[in-house]
Symmetry: C2
Subunit: 358 residues, 2 copies
């Protein structure tokens, strides 16, 4: 078991990474003090891990809410369902919400915790690779709007992130690959050595090797914890974590969150960010080819069919990174060297979208 720290003053919290601790009652007592607990999970994860987690939380009062699985269910209506359960059980401001599942469950449970009684405690127990390396850390919570991804939400830091890597044993291969998209992202943003390590070990990772997965989870959480610690509310550096996301969110919105997993859309988004960096003269085409190759070897899309570039551009314009009507993009000056810019030529953007969409 290993513990990392997200340093945010009074809102600091640990990220606990270990194997097979879901049944460890003393660990949960140590990190989660509330007497009344609502566990939020989904129809896929609950049958696998809810009983074990509930046993670790008892004899305290534990209530569970099971939501439907998938990004298309990450809606304000489902958050309202969680809030209804909290009210119906008369949970007070001293309760805690526990998210058991992937990014969708974590985002919704976190948003419910952020808004119930203007904020109650919240813990993340991520069970997918994507949630363990990315979405469970950093306090971004929220839901999608038909008009755009994650448009409604709040910053609300968890009191603890508890990533049991044994849950990855039951993770479908498609979900594993989707999680690796965010891992590749960290290498591209700020760690060329990590990116090269991923190039060398991608087959081992795809085979589900526990040691290799443990390494990428630790390194990803380290990078994210550092950046979030320096810029909690995304006034600057944290925007780098959105590499590939403006493109990826447009793919998700254009396909109504039903066709692609978030991580799959991010895979294509990383490729488009690299292409746009080449089109803008910041990146060599050899470097772009390394990005395209790794994304492809990971089994993620490098081209998305049936999404019109114009429709994708419309979705990009409502993205949260828009400032003064201008889309701000995260681009690459090299592998491991991301930067944010609003300085680029529109035709380069059109060429990029036309190349990888449609």
């Amino acid at each position: 078991m290993e513990t990392l720290h997200v340093a945010l003053g009074s809102r600091s919290y640990p990220i606990i990474i270990g194997q097979g601790f879901l049944g460890d009652r003393s660990l949960f007592e140590q990190h989660l003090r509330a007497r009344d607990l609502l566990v939020v999970s989904n129809t896929v994860v609950a049958p696998l891990y809810l009983e074990s987690l509930q046993a670790s939380l008892e004899p305290r009062r534990v209530v569970a809410t099971i939501l439907p699985d998938g990004e298309s269910h990450k809606t304000l209506a489902n958050v309202a369902r969680i809030l209804d359960v909290l009210v119906a059980n008369r949970f007070g401001r001293d309760c805690a919400v526990v998210a058991l599942g992937g990014g969708v469950v974590g985002d919704m449970a976190g948003f419910a915790a952020a808004t119930y009684q203007r904020g109650v405690a919240f813990a993340q127990v991520p069970t997918t690779l994507l949630a363990q390396v990315d979405s469970s850390v950093g306090g971004k919570t929220g839901v999608n709007h038909p008009g755009g991804k994650n448009l409604i939400g709040a910053f609300h830091q968890p009191v603890a992130v508890m990533a049991d890597t044994r849950t990855l044993a039951t993770l479908p291969s498609r979900e594993l690959r989707a999680g690796l998209a965010e891992v590749i992202k960290y290498g591209l943003i700020c760690d060329a050595g990590f990116f090269a390590w991923l190039e060398a070990h991608i087959d081992t990772l795809l085979a589900g090797d526990a040691a290799a997965l443990g390494h990428v989870i630790r390194r990803s959480c380290e990078i994210k914890a550092e950046i979030v610690g320096r810029d909690e509310r995304e006034h600057g550096e944290r925007a780098l974590l959105n590499l590939g996301h403006t493109f990826g969110h447009a793919v998700e919105s254009a396909t109504r969150y039903t066709e692609w997993l978030h991580g799959e859309a991010i895979g294509a988004g990383l490729v488009m960010a690299a292409r746009m960096s080449v089109e803008s003269g910041h990146l060599t085409s050899e470097e772009m080819d390394r990005v395209v190759d790794l994304v492809a070897r990971t089994g993620l899309p490098t081209h998305v069919a049936n999404v019109s570039p114009d429709i994708a551009l419309g979705h990009m314009r409502i993205d949260k990174k828009v400032q003064a009507g201008r889309i701000r993009l995260v681009l690459l000056r090299g592998i491991g060297r991301a930067f944010v810019t609003a300085e680029y030529a529109e035709p380069a953007l059109h060429r990029t979208l036309a190349k990888h969409l449609g």
Copy 2:
């Protein structure tokens, strides 16, 4: 024109109190920089003041949303309507939401601003006495749940509060009286001299005297700004501002937010807090009589019919002040000396409710 300050570090903001500045474009340009603005108002206030405010905000892009009037409409569904308008107009993270109206409009517009794109700028232009002395200051935003008052919400400080006291000229007398309940509250919490001043000037205030109203708005905002500056998130002292509110909220919930204005319920709540303080041996009955007299002279209820004490108690148990299953009450040790306690006898609470409800 007078300016008070709420000191909250990077979230500090001015409270501007003046007469007839709604048409002052330079003032709004100074305090509200966003290029895209959504004004949220209601069907009663919009016909009176929206045109004037919109003219002051132009030539920037200004969109308006008009909601139904009244506490029973302070729902998540109406906040979702505001969010839909923001998305439909493709407003970016650099937009601002402006609340033009009373507490209901301010709470909903503020919650929409808190959650749109995880938080956008927000300004309060309160047009009722209650909003000018209380709800527009301090960053509490949110909506009611059928199970309880203000159970869903967020802390989100405005960038400015701009209280034009000329709007009180069109305020119905019932609304004026409701606002005075919160003013009386401030005297009871921490300023016996102010309470005595209110006893001496209540008739002048009820007659709508502009100078007297200006005085109570300034003094109320001063007290609230000081307390919020010391305890933004209600970890301690700020809870004093809930004097009368646990009782009042129970009245509102039990009558489904349709029968009593918030301030009217608070009037009865102040009386119940005073009674409970006497029942618990903290306050003399002479002091309680002063509270009952002032509330009654203000034209606010001191007894609420058709609300069963048991049902009210049920609503109190889901109040946000509940900790470890115990209702925490704000009581009085004297006029101007409020305190928070969970130490009281249940029968005293039952006697208090039985005396003023049913």
